[in-house]
Structure formats: structure tokens, C-alpha cells
Symmetry: C2
Subunit: 699 residues, 2 copies
């Protein structure tokens, strides 16, 4: 691997700048960890105040350190860090890990220092991890730059954390359990190297089988989306995101705006990139070890083997709730099981072998089920008894698991009494869970990932009939107003090939009548005013005007009514639109996320969009497959596919509008939000028609 990040984990020599001889200091801990590690490269303490630390010669200055040295671990006070980096650059250091705090996290002055560090690093072509981090571990080379007490086992999990503080706790939780890591990386403030860089690096690292990450914020959302999507095709990324509940204080300007919370863009990006999001720390490692140790299931049919009915019932519930199936076993399997088990045992699924079964019985059952064609996944459950040797059971399951290629996820319920069995199982690459409910969630995550991977992403389609110039003009004209009402949004949508109901703007009763003559009746009349966003809330919509005189009379009545209801609103006139035939109302909108870009929304229209929040999101651009998935994800989707005898709707027409709205959003970054609401969808082959729309521009 020739990545510029390689020296962080494969350095030929490491200088610890600011190494202390005081065992109470973190820098002493770092040096001690480095020296005690299995790292084979050179290690140099640097500190003008000492001649020797921990039996190593200490250098007064980085310039004096001999070859080979390409990595610096910097533990000096923040204000002298820039000078230290400058010295590193001159010495030819390629990568630096800044452990010290006192940078962006403390406010403006620290922020300036951090920027200075970054500029120096760029000047010398050095890469930086940190500042304000607890260092890194590479299990393959043994290179450990942390001051954490304890080193985890070696394995396939590449771990990244934006919080340094949790790292010690995480190590403590995994120690002695044979949960194995390839890398363990605290990223600190991410002045230079970001979570996305490291995901890309670990994606190419052959010792990493699964990436597990704790993330609080992703700054370059669009690059993350691209990199994560690429990496997910090769190996799973399991991610715990903090800050999910941050309520946006933003005023509500459209339905899409009000429904797309600050966390929606993250969630949507994770889904599109195949990233497996988990909700808490226990899930993070429960899922990561399953991916690390076991193959991905070929299907969703699980079998439970147990010595106790109670936990099996809980496992069954968890499986059902997560979309897994407990199917009937093959007849041959039942015969074979019956041959060996207690006559009172249950040989259907779940297989209840009853209490008192031993290792050989577990082994027999697992091997037998490996051959059953109705089984994709094997879940052996053990509740230890005084007379059961749980290590013997573990060993039997391990041996039997090697007779086939189906994933095996054992549950051994307990704590101290199954600690040794856990080491045996996980040391042999079988994940052990202590709660019977855990495999349900773990398997769902594995299957969701497998589906994502299988799903062939088709390219983004080329859209025809796009006219950029009229939109540019409309947006330029509206820049000051900050938003577009229905009247201006209509031509904008038409320019991008979105079908809009026939109609136009009228500033007087006679203009309205003239329009009526043009488009034919019956028509609907809608108030046009920059102060009125939700027209129906103020009675600003009049339906079913069937002749010329009715249109003229209604114009005056409408103006009078609204003037009374909203005396401060400036009333520009009305829209006259042909009454559209009834269709299924849906809403399609976009809200721009600062990090990830245009976030497209699809949902059921009418008041139901707010009542049920039945909406789906994707980040633009979306392929036709993704747009169809959006529709299928909502309950509204069912209405469009012929629910309870209704006609199947023109889904392709909806997909077309979703894609075109994505295209407008990508072409015009000044559009903050855009929404078609409602879009009327007609039966298959009969298209769809936008009835109303609005645009909010960037301020």
C-alpha cells in the first residue's frame, strides 16, 4: 500500500517528542507502551531535559534523531506544537500524531493554532492525526502510540473513534474476550486526516475485515458518501453516530424542511452507502464480531438448538421481529436428531434438546443442521448448568461449525461461568452472545448489508428536455425575495420537464377570465401572495369554477375574503389552473444538507404527510432503482402499487419527477428547498401532474 497514511501504521522509526521520564505523565505512558509493544522499528524519545528514558537514549531535538524515522508522536504544549511540526518537516518526518490538546476544542485561539499546524504540515507534505487524540494502534506491526492501559487481541476489526475519551473504556470492555482488532485509531480534531480518509485506508488494508467507527460529525458529507459506498462493496462498515437527536432550531418553511431533521441526511447517506448503522456501543461490537468471524448468511432461515425453552422463545421473538425465519427442518434431519436425542426432545425448529445435554450432542446437532437445505443460519443456545461443561460444549460447536459454511452464532447465557467458553469460541472465530435476543439484530444487520451489496446499482440516467436558462433567469429575479411561490415555481418545473397542470397567473378578474377562455373549464383559483405559504389554511383556494362569469365573480370575492383574513398580506393576484382529474396525492421535495448536499424526499400528500411522517429520503443524484426504493419504503408506496383494489399507479412518472427534482437541485446550489406538493399520480401509463410547488433560496 502506497497511501500517504501508511507511515502512521508502518513507520520505520518513531520519535516521541515531549517524552517524559515522569511516570505520572501521559508521554511516559506512550513511550512505555511503544517500548513494550511488539513493534520492530526504531523508537526515539525526544526531550532536551533528559539523557535517557526507560533505557533508551533521549535526543534533545528531533533534528538530532538518526535514521530511520518517519513518524513523530507529539506531546508538547499546544503553543509550541507549530514550531515542533516545522522541525519535524525539516527532519523529513512524513506523518505526525498530535496527542496534545488545547486546539480547536478550546475555542478561537486554539483554532488558529490548529490551522497553523495544518499549514505547516501541508507545506512539508506531512500528514497529521489529531490534535487532541489518544493515538493509534496497528496490531499487525505492533505500533502503539497510545497511553491506554492494555492492548486488545489481534483480529479483523479496524476501529476508528472521533472521541478519544471513550477509547480507554472500549479497550477495557473488549480485553480478554478475544475480540480482535487490526487497527485502533483515535482521530481527535481531524485537522488533516479525517474519518473518511481512514475508512478509505482501512478499506484497502488486507488485515481489516470489518470497519467499526464511532462518529460525532462528518464534515465532508459528499466525499464520505462516495468513499463509504466504494468501501462497503468490499467490506462492511459498522457505525455508531452520536448527536442523533439534535433538534433543528430552523423555522419551518416547507413540509420537506420540517420533516428532514439534522440527522436525516446522515441516516440517508448511511443507507445509500451500505453503511451499517447501530444504535449503541453493545450493538457496535456485537455486529462487528459477527462480520469479523462469520460468513454472511446465504438466506434468512435460522435454526435454534437449545438446552432450555425460555431463551429459545426470546431468540425466536427477536428473529421474527428482525425479519428472520424459523422454517421446518428436512425430514432426514428430524430422523437423525431423533436417533441421538432424548425421546422427549423436540426435533422441530427450535430444536429443544432438553437440559442435561453435553458437548457431543451439541456437536451432533450442529453438524446435522449444517446439511439441512432449509437452514441458512445455526444458533446454538446454552444455559449452563452445574453439571454442564460449557468449554466442552464450545469446543464441540467449533468442531461441528467446520463441517460446513453456514454462519454459526452461539448464545451462552451467563457471565463468569461462560467466560472461559467465550475465549474458546471467540478464539476460534465464533462470536458468543450472552443474551438470547442479540442474534436477531445482528443477523438483520448482516442480511441488510448483503442485500445492499447484491443490489446492482445502475448508473444515473441521462434526463432529456432540460432547459437551464429559464430557471437561471427565474432564480436571478427572485434572489431578493428569497423564495418562489407557486406562480414562479410553475415555469421552473416546466423548464426541467416536470409536468405541471395547465394554467397561469392573473392580476385581475378580466385577466382571470381571459385565462379561463384559453385553458377551458372547470378551473381552480388560488391566491398569489408572498406572505401566504399555506394557501388552504387561509381559504385561499376556490375549486370547480365552471364558467367565465363564475371566475370573474369569484376573483373579487376571493380578494375581499383574504384581505379581511390577512390584512397585512400583499395580494398579487391569482393562479387560474385547470381542475385536474383525481389521482393519488404525493409530495416530492428537496432540502439541501450542508454536508451531504440535496436530500430528496418522497411521501404521501395531503395532511397525511404531517400526520404520519410517512416519508423516505435519498441524497441526489438517485438512480431509477433508488427512486423506486424510496417509494417502496413508504406506506404511501402501497397505495401506488394497487392497495385494496385500487389501480396500479404510474410509478415511472413519480420516479421521473424525483430524478428531475434531484437534477434541478444539483444544477442550482442556490436552491435551499424545493417542493412539488401535491403531485397527482394517475394509473399506469397516464403520468403524473404537479398541482403546486414552491422554492426557498439560500439567504
Amino acid at each position: 500500500m502506497t497511501s500517504s497514511l501508511s507511515p502512521f501504521f508502518n513507520a520505520a522509526g518513531v520519535a516521541v517528542i515531549g517524552a517524559s521520564s515522569n511516570p505520572q505523565k501521559l508521554s511516559y505512558g506512550i513511550l512505555k507502551n511503544l517500548i513494550n509493544s511488539t513493534y520492530k522499528g526504531a523508537v526515539y524519545p525526544v526531550n532536551p531535559g533528559s539523557a535517557e528514558i526507560l533505557g533508551r537514549r533521549c535526543y534533545a531535538h528531533i533534528s538530532e534523531v538518526p535514521d530511520p524515522v518517519d513518524l513523530a508522536v507529539i506531546v508538547v504544549p499546544a503553543p509550541v506544537t507549530p514550531q515542533t511540526l516545522e522541525d519535524c518537516g525539516k527532519r523529513g518526518i512524513k506523518a505526525a500524531i498530535i496527542i496534545s490538546g488545547g486546539f480547536k476544542e478550546v475555542g478561537e485561539s486554539g483554532s488558529d493554532l490548529e490551522k497553523e499546524c495544518l499549514e505547516i504540515a501541508r507545506r512539508y507534505g506531512m500528514r497529521l492525526i489529531g490534535p487532541n487524540c489518544v493515538g493509534t494502534m496497528c496490531m499487525r506491526t505492533g505500533l502503539n502510540t497510545t497511553f491506554i492501559y492494555g492492548v486488545p487481541d489481534t483480529g479483523g476489526i479496524g476501529f476508528l473513534s472521533q472521541s478519544g475519551a471513550v477509547c480507554g473504556g472500549v479497550i477495557d470492555m473488549v480485553l480478554g474476550k478475544k475480540i480482535g482488532f487490526s487497527h485502533f485509531i483515535s482521530m481527535g480534531n481531524e485537522a488533516d486526516v479525517t474519518e473518511t480518509d481512514l475508512i478509505e485506508y482501512l478499506g484497502e488494508d488486507p488485515s481489516t475485515r470489518v470497519i467499526a467507527a464511532y462518529v460525532e460529525q462528518i464534515r465532508d458529507g459528499r466525499r464520505f458518501l462516495e468513499v463509504a459506498r466504494k468501501v462497503s462493496r468490499v467490506k462492511p462498515i459498522v457505525l455508531l453516530k452520536a448527536g442523533r437527536s439534535g433538534a433543528g432550531a430552523r423555522a419551518v418553511s416547507s413540509h420537506t424542511g420540517s420533516l428532514a431533521g439534522s440527522y436525516t441526511a446522515y441516516q440517508t447517506a448511511f443507507k445509500q452507502a451500505g453503511v451499517i448503522e447501530v444504535q449503541n456501543w453493545s450493538e457496535l461490537f456485537d455486529v462487528a464480531i459477527a462480520f469479523d468471524f462469520q460468513p454472511i448468511p446465504a438466506g434468512r432461515r435460522a435454526v435454534i438448538i437449545t438446552n432450555a425453552g425460555g431463551p429459545a422463545a426470546i431468540t425466536s421473538d427477536a428473529l421474527a421481529n428482525n425479519g428472520l425465519l424459523l422454517e421446518d427442518l428436512e425430514e432426514a434431519t428430524k430422523v437423525e436428531l431423533r436417533k441421538h436425542l432424548n425421546p422427549a426432545a423436540q426435533v422441530s425448529n427450535p430444536v429443544d434438546m432438553l437440559g442435561g445435554v453435553d458437548g457431543p450432542m451439541y456437536g451432533m446437532a450442529v453438524s446435522t443442521l449444517m446439511k439441512d437445505k432449509n437452514v441458512d443460519i445455526i444458533l446454538p443456545i446454552l444455559v449452563p448448568h452445574a453439571l454442564t461443561n460449557s468449554v466442552e460444549v464450545a469446543q464441540a460447536i467449533i468442531n461441528a461449525s467446520k463441517t460446513g459454511s453456514k454462519p454459526v452464532l452461539p448464545v451462552f447465557m451467563g457471565d463468569q461461568s461462560v467466560a472461559e467458553a467465550r475465549i474458546t469460541l471467540q478464539g476460534n472465530r465464533l462470536p458468543m452472545y450472552v443474551y438470547p435476543e442479540t442474534p436477531g439484530l445482528v443477523l438483520r444487520k448482516m442480511l441488510t448489508y448483503a442485500e445492499w451489496r447484491e443490489q446492482q446499482m445502475e448508473g444515473i440516467q441521462v434526463l432529456n428536455d432540460i432547459r437551464v436558462e429559464p430557471v437561471q433567469k427565474i432564480l436571478d429575479d427572485a434572489q431578493k425575495a428569497g423564495s418562489l411561490g407557486e406562480a414562479q415555481t410553475r415555469p421552473l418545473l416546466e423548464a426541467y420537464g416536470i409536468p405541471v397542470v395547465k394554467g397561469g397567473f392573473a392580476a385581475s378578474a378580466s385577466e382571470a377570465a381571459h385565462l379561463f377562455d384559453e385553458i377551458g373549464g372547470p378551473v381552480v383559483m388560488k391566491i398569489v401572495s408572498p406572505e401566504i405559504l399555506h394557501k388552504s389554511d387561509v381559504g385561499g383556494i376556490r375549486l370547480n369554477l365552471a364558467d367565465r362569469s363564475a371566475v370573474m365573480a369569484e376573483y373579487d370575492r376571493l380578494m375581499n375574503d383574504i384581505r379581511r383574513a390577512k390584512p397585512d398580506a400583499h395580494l398579487e393576484g391569482v393562479l387560474i389552473e385547470k381542475m385536474a382529474p383525481r389521482g393519488q396525492e404525493v409530495i416530492i421535495g428537496m432540502k439541501r444538507d450542508a454536508g451531504f448536499g440535496p436530500l430528496l424526499m418522497f411521501g404521501l400528500g395531503g395532511i397525511y404527510v404531517e400526520l404520519f411522517k410517512d416519508v423516505a429520503f435519498r441524497i441526489a443524484p438517485v438512480s431509477a432503482v433508488e427512486a423506486h426504493q424510496m417509494i417502496a419504503e413508504t406506506r404511501a408506496g402501497k397505495l401506488l402499487t394497487g392497495f385494496r383494489g385500487s389501480a396500479k399507479a404510474d410509478l415511472d412518472a413519480v420516479v421521473n419527477v424525483i430524478q428531475r427534482l434531484g437534477r434541478i437541485s444539483l444544477d442550482f446550489p442556490q436552491i435551499e428547498e424545493i417542493e412539488v406538493n401535491p403531485l397527482l399520480v394517475y394509473p399506469e401509463g397516464q403520468g403524473a401532474l404537479a398541482l403546486d410547488g414552491r422554492v426557498i433560496l439560500k439567504k
Copy 2:
């Protein structure tokens, strides 16, 4: 306490019948546990084959055992158990725990044996626990009749389990963690004493502060509801229910039937009885220790105190997702914290004291926040570092927690390194969690319970205008058909005071015209046929017939159309009903649960009930408060309370229909399902009107 269950836990003397001298036998383990326990009463092994076991004189027969003896633990083969019980009865034994298996769980012959045991016990006035269980522990008297290895700490949790197999695993999980129990009871097959009996017993037991139960099935649902409701007023019941996913294989006969799954009645009963349902084993004890150790919060405002930002972010998310609040702290609090903490520390909520803080700082922060009027709950988080003494931090939090009465729930992230701190904390009645997300769920459960307790249950109202006789007659007539269509359901609803739209049945075009003359137009015409349940699905509804001749013509057209569409259906005629003014459509139904009785459902009407499953359930009878809560629980409830400018609907009219449907269901147990769909609800004061209904009778 004078309960007949008392001897199980407070026996004066215990005989172990079938006690073995072979250490490989369970009965040896039971005797050994009993002798090694702190139990002060007499212990007698009974076995004709031994003279002495474990240094105790062994008796050949229970009749020879001297006084005092009131409890027998029976570990003999199933076939000789009835005779053994008979002997116990004669000896004056008051309670027996049957450990042996081989009863109902093995099939019919075992079932007969179990019934025989119960009859003998009833004859002698003996109570039975088991058979097929692992015994009981009472921590106050030390009486331990299990063969489980290990005894948990003493505390306030009364634990019940319908699975004996899990008991050993549970003990192993709690050992050495200062999770304390008052009782630990394996209930086995529940031939006599049930989960409800034991909940009632523990409800009155002063050493039990919280009941934790693992339940697979509740046979007498209505008694459970009554007992649990009574006990919940005094102490919390935390319950894990297995078998939640059991899909009913029953054919769909009404919306209510299809929406009320087999688990719905349990869930509804738990809610109404104040039972705190949890989803898995970890939640069961996470929640139970919080109730055991800490007071219930006075409100939902929490403060986080941490030495690390990462876990605090996860805790914040979990709090927000569970309805907790992180409010601003009082100015005085901030000033006080600022005085003591690192200048870079954050003194707003979450309080981030930064890494390196020690015990005294945690103590200072907790004491300071005890005084803050904006804080109801204190959550100290510690991520241990090499330089932190987590036991010292634990002790400081314990001392500070005593300066006030707010609940304190510490999170110490880690495993081995916080094991000693856990013993310190939990030994001093502070629950310790290792994952930062846990307090969110725990606190929601505590607050939900507190709300349930505060809520004054008003009595069930007396309903007027109820006429039983006409309903009795309709049901008698329909017995053979097994169900009532709209035409017969109309008069049934009317008899119970439920307002139904004007109309009637017509068997010919001229009868239809006659009805039209009576009720006035416009009317709707609906097909009447026992084979057609969903009339609109087959085009069996014709709207807006405004005059006599239209009614007559449409009658013939309808008959012809339906005959073509459903040639096998027997068409009885039509219903002619006055077109009702538009209102909000809702659905109110009842499905009878075999255990819990009539399960009432309220939901949004139209196709949305199936699309969104936006429904709420309660078991009849319901108070007006409960009926209002049903409405409020659904999103449809928002539509009725004036969503987006619509008029507030007549909620009392809806509540009235819910209560009356409950009353019909209680009065006529032969009604299996009944449904009003739709009920049109009008603005406040204008009532509601049933448009359609159906009844399914018990087969």
C-alpha cells in the same frame, strides 16, 4: 402475612423427599444448598435407601419426619409423585414444591398425572409450586430449595420465572454485582400457584421493592389484569414476555381482527395495569435495579456530568429519544461549578469536566446539582483512565448522592476496570450502567410508571339507554349464520345507544323507493349479502341517489353488476341510508381475547387503518379517561383535536361509542368481534354517526 403461600418462603421445617446421597443428583444439590444456606428452620432428608445424608439423619418416609415440618420439596419420579403428595397431605404438610419433570410438558399422560397431583393438593388444602421447576429462594429467611450453584445478594427484587432453565443463567449474570433479591422463584408448570398468585404475594411482601418477572403465558388474563393493577399501585412490576411474535393463523374477518395480533392483548393489559414491559434480559435487570435502588424522578429534566464528551453525546441522544430533557442549569450552579472545575470545562448541561477529574470533583458536581431547581435526575458518567481511581469516584458520588433525594444513575464505561466500582456503587444502592445509552430507556420506564400511578382512575361510568332484549333476539336468530352483516348490526347498535345513520333494508326496487320516501334524499345504496364483507371492494356501494326514480333504476343496475362480479353470492337486497354529512372517519371495534376478554380498538378509518395500522387498544370496560387516552395515542387523534386548522371534533361522542361497544361485548360473550366502521365524527357538540358495522359470533 397470612397468605397460604407463606410456608413456601417461611417454613418452620422442610422435608426433601427423594434426597439422594449421590453428588451427581439434583436432589443432593438441593439438600446441600439448603444445609449451606442461612435458613434457620429444620431440614429433613427423606429417602428409604439412606440412613444419613450430608450429616443429617435421613427418614425412610415423610410420615416419620418429626415436627416442625410444613414444606416438602419433592424430587421423586413423576409416576410416584401423586402417592408422595398423598403422604404429605396426611402428614399435615401445607406446601409442596415439585421439582420433578415428566408432567404436562411431556404430553397427555403427564398432564393426567399433573391433574391428579392438583386434586390431591386441593383435597388436603396444600399449595403446590411446580412441577417441573428448579425451586425457590427467599433471601430474608435464607430458605433455598434450588439446586442452582451460587446465591445472589440480598436486596429488593422479587424475581419470578416461568422458565426454570434460565434461572441458573440469571444467577450467573447477577452474581458478584450487588444486584439484590428478596425472592427468586421458578414457577414450572404452574399446576396450582401461578404467576398472578406470586405477584399478589410479593406485592404484599415488605422486603420486595420491585417485582421482576419472565413470563411466557398468562392463563387467567382477567385476574392478572386485576391483581397487577392493584400491585402496581404499590410497587413496580417489570416484565419480560416471551412469545411476542406468534403470528395468529386465524383468517381475517374484520379490521379489528386483523390488527389485534395474539400479543396485542398482553401488551394492552400490561399498559392498563401499569406493568413495565421490557424487551430483553438486559433491560429487565437494568430497569429493576433502578427501581430497587433509587427514588422515582420527580420530573423529566436530567443533567449529565462527564469526564468525556463522546459518551455524553450518546447519553444525550438516548435521553432525547426517550422523552427526557436536558435543561439549562441555574446561574448559581454554573458559578459554583466554574469555581472548582478546569477553566476549559463546560459548565452548562451536559457538564463536561474534561479528562483527569478525580473523585472530589465528581462529588462536588453531584452535590451542587442536587440543589439545582432545574434538575430532577443526575447522571454522572466516568470513562476510566489509567490515572483515575474509579472506586474513589464511586465513593464520592455515593456520598454526594446522600445530600439530596434526586435519583442518581451513574454510567461507568468499561468491564474489568470498573468491576470494583460497581460493587461499591451497587452495594450502596446506586445502579451502575456500563453503556452510556442505558439511562435513557431506564428513565423512560420509571417516568411512564410514575405517570400511570399518578393518573387517577375514575370509575367506569353507568351507561343509559341500553336495551338488552332486542340484541339477545338478533344474536339468537343469527347463531347459525355465525355473523351479522350491516343490516342486522344496525338495530343491535341502536339498542345499545350508538347513533346510526337513518335507513333500512329493502329487498326490492319498490321497497327501496318506499324507504327513500320515508327518510328523504339523497341516499346511499349498499348491497346486502352474507358472502360480501367488504362491500366497496366489489363495487357494492352507490352514492348520492337524489330522487325516487334514480333509486329504483340503481337497484336493478346494482343487482346486475354484483351478480356478474360475484355469481356465487346470495344477494338479499340493499340497505338504503341517508347520505351522511362529511365527517372524520374513524373505526371502533372489539376482538375477544381468550384470556383477557374484550379487546377494544380505536383507529383512523378508511383505507388508512390498514395502511398505517394507526390503532390503539384497551381491554373493556374502559373509563372515559382511558377511552380519551386511546384516541390520544393514535395519530388519528390529532385529526380529531383540530389538526392544521380543522375543527375540534366531538371526542365525547367517540368516547361514548367506545364505552358502549365495550358494554355490548361484556354483556354478550358470544360476540367474538364487533366493529363500527366507519364512525363519522362531527365537530364538537354535533355528535358522531355509525355508517356501517358488523358482528362475528363465536363458533
